[in-house]
Amino acid sequence: MSHDPHFGFVIAAYALGFVIVAGMIVTILADYMRLKQALWSLSRGTRQDPDIGRGDLNPQNPDPESFE
């Protein structure tokens, strides 16, 4: 398999695939954590910081999806 002269292109394609898929997953998860933290801060009545994602994540964080 690795004797193919174009094998490097195959590796590069799968590496690109890994980077893009991992990028999508990490971006969406990071956004979710940031939003949860911001909603938790707001529900506690804390002052709304313009940079809402900067606070430490509290392990006792109530799930913002259970606000209903």
Partner: protein, 257 residues
Amino acid sequence: MSNYANPANFLRLARVLVPLSATLTALSLGVGLYLAWFVAPPDYQQGETVRIMYLHVPAAWLAMLIYVVMTAAALGTLVWRHPLADAAQKAAAALGASFTLLCLGTGSLWGKPMWGAWWVWDARLTSVLVLFLIYLGLVALWRTIEDPGKAARAAAIFTVVGAVNIPIIKFSVDWWNTLHQPASVFRLGGPAIAPSMLWPLVVMALAFTFLFVTLYLMAIRNEILRRRLRRLSILAAGAKEQAPADAASAWEAAYEP
């Protein structure tokens, strides 16, 4: 079904579906990669380079499928003015751009050894590049228009107009003389590729579809939470300034917890 076209119900549904879909993604991707790398034979002309096809083709299918999903959501915004339709459309745009980028990148990495060029202004390649630019344009549109209602309508109109590009991508290889090969799976007379290569391709396409469903559910959930946060922030600011509580727009009221 219409019960789930409600942000609160959707969040409850997503809580169940996301782990299930993620598990299906992991299983199908594992099987698909095994088949693509260790079971599928090298092509008699392309050699090992054919393995790029197992990424490139599913990415291309997803790039078009996501746009079709976005067009349906755009109609939901324009016809029924449903707030969840805009959230669904917006959540899909970045995913569509990512799958299109993967399609273009892997196609380029296949094209260099097979065609001798990273890029040619072929009808298929060019129309897919236009699709990528449309996705980027939509993402930019949502970011530049501050009013969510106006942004939703503008993006919906842009999406519906841009849908004309999907049949152009699909039939570009039939309508013009292109360097890109014609359809070999979805064609009259059945697939033209050997079953030993078709099955890994089908499994990888299934894995990419599950991956999209998982990420899409998560992205819609994020979009709902973002709108809920915006709504609560406006209400909190309004209460602080003794302003009327209806400072947030009616559009955002749908995300009230």
